[in-house]
């Protein structure tokens, strides 16, 4: 109970921080909307023939992309705490060792949920029609959040290994761009070169985007959703212990 309170307090702190960081706030609000609008009106005609036809396709893709970009802030925030001495202050307090990390990931999930909601609302305002039940929409949100919490561990590792917060962002976004774009997030699979297609099909971003499309617009969601979960489990199984190990190593060294 006490540990839960402490984790919540630490999550509160991560959320309050956003208020004072206009860039971060923008990345949660303006940036996803900007991406959605740009992709929709610039590429819509070329990719799908019209913006109306493209919207159901691109909205889940933007949701998936934005989710990945937001995870960078987990690493960025952790690295800031490590390099500025805030993490040491927490460690000198009588709280569980995992609480600072848990608080950060919890706060991140809340931010993620708000981003998804925001994108869905803007999407609907632009003419998006949800064809499925509330449960399927909730399943879609849950799927994105599960994948986000797994992907966060990669960024935790980046945050631990990076020298400073700027490097986290640099590395994070540089790695995320190809992963996001070599997928079916924004364009259909068959428009891409044959050599690229196996990668695109296996890419969890594709699977997540496909599952989200089906959960919002109807169709077979089960297969891509299950594969997304397999990916999430695999990422978590590898990166959670690795991140914790790297973090402990960094702390023991300092």
């Amino acid at each position: 109970m006490k540990a839960l309170d402490q984790t919540l307090a630490l999550a509160w702190r991560s959320l309050v921080q956003v208020r004072r960081n206009p860039w971060e706030l923008g990345d949660y609000s303006i940036q996803p909307i900007l991406f959605l609008v740009l992709f929709l009106y610039v590429f819509g005609g070329a990719v799908a023939g019209s913006t109306e036809a493209y919207l159901p396709f691109v909205l889940p893709g933007v949701i998936a992309m934005n989710m990945l970009f937001v995870t960078v802030y987990v690493g960025h925030g952790l690295n800031t705490d490590l390099t500025r001495g805030v993490f040491d202050r927490f460690r000198a307090l009588p709280i569980p060792r995992w609480a600072p990390l848990a608080g950060r990931i919890l706060a991140d999930l809340l931010k993620q949920a708000l981003c998804i909601a925001l994108l869905l609302i803007v999407g609907v305002l632009l003419g998006f029609r949800i064809e499925t039940s509330v449960w399927e929409v909730l399943a879609m949100v849950a799927l994105v959040l599960v994948f986000a919490s797994a992907a966060s561990w990669i960024m935790v590792l980046v945050g631990v290994l990076s020298r400073d917060p700027e490097h986290v962002q640099l590395f994070g976004f540089t790695a995320l761009f190809p992963v996001t774009f070599v997928s079916t997030a924004f364009v259909p699979l068959d428009t891409m070169p044959a050599v690229l297609q196996p990668f695109v099909q296996a890419n969890p971003v594709s699977l997540l985007a496909d599952a989200s499309r089906a959960l919002l617009g109807g169709g077979n969601a089960l297969e891509p959703a299950l594969w997304t979960l397999v990916w999430a489990a695999a990422i978590a199984v590898i990166f959670a212990p690795l991140s914790v190990w790297a973090l402990n190593r960094r702390l023991a060294r300092g």
């Binding site: 309050v16 921080q17 202050r89």
Partner: protein
């Protein structure tokens, strides 16, 4: 006499270098101990071990009777830590920073708010309470950092170079606050590379050099070890500082320490004064001021280590 902090043969290495090389130390409850030494002397490493942030390679340490390795959780309940680099969250306001710590220490919402306001008042931060800490001056930030480490009323407080980088007024403010803690009976372990700071705050001073204790005692005792007095000379033309130092060294038998245009060196007899004056006159070095004063801790450090206290070692990155 109850011992609040006890170190026995404490050792910690970094990359094969012994940052802390067998330190034995006892700090009586309610007293202020000053750990004095240049960058790389091992001060911060000792504090980090005592605050349970890193573990010793050998030896043991007890804080409040609890072992820092095996009873780390108990230690964390009774200590406060103010790091050398202000470890407040810059994105949070002063009040939010204190509220967070209070909540983490298990205070209820109302108690947390009351404690935060209390500390904001005590540390003269009320006016800035609702501003993000990143807008604070260095002195304010350090005060907030100190306040954050006092939220839980710790019995034992570690202050790691609390005034490094502060202007003289902010330093004095912080000294006054530490003085108030002494009156409340808090045991304080303070690290500093400022000799006047140890002199002003600490009941006892331990001088640390390259991971080892090289001297220990009250400020007066340490000053006595170097003969009690030092000769100081201020030259008019700082370009002639080296010439003056040479002339003084010939008479005193030891090279003086130079700072700006002042040279100082520990002496045992006042008989050297006229001799030095004559030598400087012969060398045609114009003297602005010359006299004897009670030895400063600078002189102590020079006499004990053979090098100036302010010299930075190659380890400063690790232990700055």
């Amino acid at each position: 006499m109850e011992i609040a902090i006890r170190l026995q043969g404490l050792v910690r290495s970094y990359n094969g270098t012994r940052a802390v090389d067998g330190v034995d130390l006892e700090v009586p409850r309610g007293s202020i101990l000053g750990l004095l030494g240049p960058n790389g002397a091992g001060k911060t490493t000792i504090v980090r071990m005592l605050a349970t942030l890193i573990t010793p390679d050998a030896g043991r340490a007890e804080v409040g009777g609890f072992d820092v390795v095996h009873e780390a959780a108990r230690v964390r309940e009774i200590v406060g830590l103010t790091g050398q680099y202000a470890s407040v969250d810059e994105k949070l306001t002063g009040r939010e920073n204190l509220l967070l710590i209070a909540r983490l220490l298990g205070l209820g919402r109302r108690d947390a708010r009351r404690r935060a306001d209390e500390l904001l008042g005590q540390f003269h931060l009320q006016d800035a309470a609702n501003r993000p800490a990143q807008t604070y001056s260095g002195g304010m930030r350090r005060r907030l950092d100190l306040a954050a480490s006092l939220v839980g009323n710790p019995a034992i407080l570690f202050l790691d170079e609390p005034t490094t980088g502060l202007d003289p007024r902010a330093r004095r403010d912080l000294w006054r606050l530490v003085g108030e803690l002494r009156e409340q009976g808090t045991t304080v372990l303070l690290t500093t590379q400022y000799l006047d700071e140890a002199d002003a705050l600490a009941d006892r001073i331990v001088v640390l050099d390259r991971g080892r204790i090289i001297a220990e005692g009250t400020s007066a005792e340490l000053k006595e070890r170097v003969g009690g007095r030092s000769l100081f000379v201020v030259v008019a033309d700082s370009a002639r500082l080296d010439d003056a130092a040479e002339a003084i060294a010939r008479i005193v038998g030891e090279g003086p320490q130079a700072r700006d245009s002042t040279l100082s060196v520990a002496v045992t007899s006042s008989a050297v004064v006229p001799k030095v004056l004559r030598a400087l006159d012969q060398a045609e070095i114009e003297v602005v001021e010359l006299g004897l004063r009670t030895a400063s801790l600078d002189d102590v450090f020079l006499a004990l280590t053979g090098h100036a206290a302010e010299a930075t070692s190659e380890m400063s990155e690790e232990d700055a």
